[in-house]
């Protein structure tokens, strides 16, 4: 899942659950049925799980574009100070 997908999935999850909760309370109160409210909310949770938990392909429409390795080779890193490189070589 890409960054954009992660942002969307979080919003979709919260909006779905809140809407289901509101619908459940309204319908439950109107029909005077606590069971109805719980069933609607449970259904909403299952729906939200199916929509947001698996990594669906439509969450991957904005893949990160990394530079091609060959492009990086054309612009070599500037040499860092001698002290830093020494430390690195010691660790190795």
């Amino acid at each position: 899942m890409d960054w954009q997908g992660q942002k969307v999935v979080e919003q979709v999850m919260q909006i779905l659950l809140v809407i289901c909760g509101v619908v459940a309370v309204v319908v439950g109160y109107a029909t005077e049925s606590f069971r109805m409210m719980m069933m609607i909310y449970a259904g909403g949770v299952v729906l939200a799980t199916l929509v947001t938990v698996p990594d669906w392909p439509f969450y991957n429409h904005h893949p990160l574009k990394w530079l091609d390795p060959s492009e990086a080779d054309k612009h070599p890193k500037p040499q860092v100070a001698a002290v830093a490189s020494k430390k690195k070589s010691l660790k190795k």
């Binding site: 899942m1 999850m13 659950l17 109160y29 909310y41 938990v53």
Partner: protein, 165 residues
């Protein structure tokens, strides 16, 4: 939100939090229901009134009650009981439970029943002759979510005979 487990965890947490809110709203909605229960109790006759160390009364009650307005969509059941309440020199309030019932739903909340006392009406001592007492219908409402609450109807003006029989 980068992995399956993280998304499942976030969803579950949010869902349970929202569920808590839903239950709180359901409990709150009970406050807006107007409750006007009514009850009427007659003592049909006194079967036995003796002293076995302590005064004991055996009587038949005619209980007529309408507790339907206590039931809302958030009510699981109602427990109701009839108590005889009176004052003696030793105790400022004696409460003796005579009869009780568990009402599972609204359809059973309006009833008329003639019954002898389910639990024994025994005083602590010999104070019952000629005693004025109240019959009180207490009820405890047990909601599906939220706090249990109780109330009562006090019916004064009952009295016991002056002599044992």
């Amino acid at each position: 939100m980068h992995s399956f487990g993280y998304r499942a965890n976030a969803l579950l947490t949010f869902a349970v939090t929202a569920l808590a809110f839903i239950c709180a709203i359901a409990s709150l909605s009970d406050k807006f229901s107007n409750q006007n229960p009514s009850a009427e109790i007659q003592i049909l006759y006194i079967k036995r009134f003796k002293s076995y160390g302590n005064d004991e009364v055996s009587l038949t009650l005619d209980i007529n009650a309408d507790l339907q307005s206590l039931f809302t969509w958030n009510t699981k059941q109602v427990f109701a009981f009839v108590a005889a309440e009176y004052e003696t020199p030793k105790n400022s309030l004696n409460q003796v439970s005579l009869w009780d019932v568990i009402i599972p739903d609204k359809e059973h909340a309006k009833f008329r029943i003639q019954t002898s006392n389910k639990y024994r009406f025994i005083d602590q001592g010999h104070n019952l002759r000629g005693k004025e007492f109240n019959l009180t219908l207490h009820w405890h409402v047990m909601p599906k979510t939220g706090k249990m609450f109780a109330d009562k109807i006090v019916m004064p003006g009952y009295s016991l005979p002056d002599a044992y029989k």
